[in-house]
Subunit: 140 residues, 2 copies
DNA sequence: CTACGACTTAAAGTACGCTTTAAGTCAAGC
DNA sequence: GCTTGACTTAAAGCGTACTTTAAGTCGTAG
């Protein structure tokens, strides 16, 4: 019998079988062909699962990932809708990249400063609050 | 009466009063002083809330944020533990930055490619799977 | 024939981060 | 005195993304 079982796919992709069934249920994966009631997968499923996992790790919701994936199906009409989503997501990703970089700064500066409370630490707050600082007694 | 009510803090910080009570409940904020049973806050709460929100937006869990914040309280002994957490989190943040950048690439390349299914798209997968590609017929 | 392991389904359970609800308290304005 | 609005509490509810459970099916090994 050709194709992989759900267990084999799960092992190769490094995710739980239950997650694969869940993805099928919510439409992230097309309903798998059944042989004697059991799911059988072609190798292409692995690429699809990699995209699903990347999207998840990048903070996409299931609904967003579904739109993203079905936007690629060759006969889907509302490609414009998909493009809008992608554009929107790009902006979100850029915002998120910024926030992560900020938190990175906060963490790094926390290694250097001697402020008793982080909310007084100018170094940590510098990129966050571009207003005039109260000029207290920071020990950064 | 000095200090702000929970409603005022919420309005200024741009978060719901219920969230502030929740933060106090789970230890992200110290128990606020009560006047006639109502919480009263000094201006410092706003800085603390900014940190809490930044941490949340950067993907920190409540537990991590609590460790992060209490690690700053001057008198807490296990600064080493806190340093370990921060180092660990920095690595996580760098990994996350990478994933976001990857998803950004996938999205951007999706605007250009003509692949019917994204898992066949070399452009999209290039940074993900550094192995030899099957050399199909990509239209990127 | 039977036992085993891997699979199937639907439904319930879980963790996180809050929000909502219910029932009550308090100070101020009429 | 009474109403109003903002507050208090504990407890329940919610959305997301799965996992776990229960009860059953299937193919192979012994």
């Amino acid at each position: 019998m050709s194709g992989m079982s759900i267990g084999e796919v799960a092992r190769r992709a490094g995710i739980a079988p239950s997650a694969i069934r869940y993805y099928e249920q919510v439409g992230l994966l097309p309903p798998a062909a059944r042989h004697n009631g059991r799911r059988r997968y072609a190798a292409a499923i692995l690429g699809r699962l990699r995209i699903v996992q990347l999207a998840r790790d990048a903070g996409f919701t299931i609904a967003e990932t579904r739109t993203f994936l079905t936007g690629f199906s060759a006969g889907t009409p509302p490609v414009a809708r998909w493009r809008a989503l992608a554009t929107h997501k790009l902006a979100q990703i850029d915002a998120q990249l910024l926030r992560f970089a900020q938190m990175r700064q906060v963490l790094e500066s926390s290694f250097r400063c001697r402020c008793p409370r982080i909310e007084d630490c100018e170094q940590a707050m510098a990129r966050q609050t571009p207003r005039t600082r109260p000029a207290g007694s920071p020990r950064c």
